[in-house]
Amino acid sequence: MIFNRIAVLRAERSITRQTLAREIGVHAQTIGFLERGDYVPSLELVFKLTRFFHLPVEAVFSTEPFRPLSEQVYTMPVSAPKLRRRG
């Protein structure tokens, strides 16, 4: 089983299935199948998708379920400088 973040990435960029399908040269129904995990894409299609989103393959596809993006963002290590105490 291959998991992917296509639905999240598409929603984030406000792209319709039709637009994405047209850009990577597949039918809109195939995007639906990919998003639901009902179809495992070929390597060629994987590269087309990652090139479209300008992301590395591992950011879009994984053999393990992805953690929710919001969870990942809020548990990222904070590298900001320490705040000074007032008073």
């Binding site: 598409r10 929603a11 406000s14 792209i15 319709t16 299935r17 039709q18 637009t19 399908a21 047209r22 040269g25 597949v26 039918h27 809109a28 129904q29 195939t30 639906g32 199948f33 998003e35 639901r36 009902d38 179809y39 894409p41 070929s42 060629e44 299609l45």
Partner: protein, 229 residues
């Protein structure tokens, strides 16, 4: 693989898989009943002996007519199985012919010219040449071309049909063993053979209509619609 734009048959909406299955079962029942009626009509000994060529043409006409009026028709509820291409001597592979602006737009961007963003429209207009031009078919982004998932579904459906035809022939042969065929008419054999022809023609479409889930496009598109300016 389903043709969402033409997913209706005799006024019945075929988006629901359950409804599609009912239509498939009814279609096969209608074909079987029609085939049996044709066979009994042609089975008459005097008719069969004197008009044996007519039996053949009647069977061909019945199978073709039923196929093109049925839900199994290629290019009806199901997207065409084969993208129309032409062989061209001297070029490896097949080619498509581009004539109109829409042909060029579909070839390069997968949609008609009016449906493309302005930037892509400009690119199509820059590439466009008046007349008939050949382009490599495997580079086409035309929506009529089946993508990799659809090709896989089509091939699986064809393989499944082949298996079913094989099983049907084996079961038929087993059930006929030990029978006396002295009274067998040519019409009987013609009808049986054309039933097999119809199975081969309609089998892949039957499998696809049976297994393809309901298209989920509409709901998701509403949710993910691009922001309007």
């Amino acid at each position: 693989m389903l043709n969402t734009a033409k997913l209706r048959y005799l006024g019945i909406d075929l988006h629901s898989r359950r409804r599609r299955r009912i239509v498939v079962v009814c279609s096969w029942a209608a074909f079987t009943a029609g085939s049996a009626a044709l066979e009994s009509f042609l089975d008459d000994r005097s008719f069969s002996v004197h008009h044996h060529e007519l039996s053949l043409w009647a069977a061909i006409a019945y199978v073709c007519l039923f196929y093109y009026l049925s839900v199994f028709r290629d290019g009806g509820a199901i997207r065409p199985f084969h993208f129309r291409t032409r062989p061209l001597a001297g070029l490896r592979g097949r080619v498509v012919v581009l004539n109109s602006l829409d042909d060029w737009a579909r070839y390069y961007y997968g949609a008609a010219l009016d449906d493309l963003p302005q930037e892509q429209q400009q690119d199509v207009l820059r590439r466009y040449r008046v007349g008939y031009y050949y382009r490599e078919a495997n580079k086409s982004r035309s929506p009529e071309r089946l993508d990799e998932r659809e090709t896989m579904i089509r091939d699986r459906a064809s393989a499944s049909t082949l298996r079913w035809v094989g099983i049907s022939c084996a079961v038929g042969a087993a059930s006929l063993t030990g029978h006396n065929f002295a009274h067998l008419q040519p019409a009987n054999i013609i009808t049986v053979l054309f039933n097999i022809v119809f199975m081969v023609m309609a089998g892949p479409a039957t499998v696809i209509l049976w297994i393809e889930p309901d298209p989920h496009e509409s709901g998701d598109l509403t949710l993910m619609e691009a922001p309007t300016a």
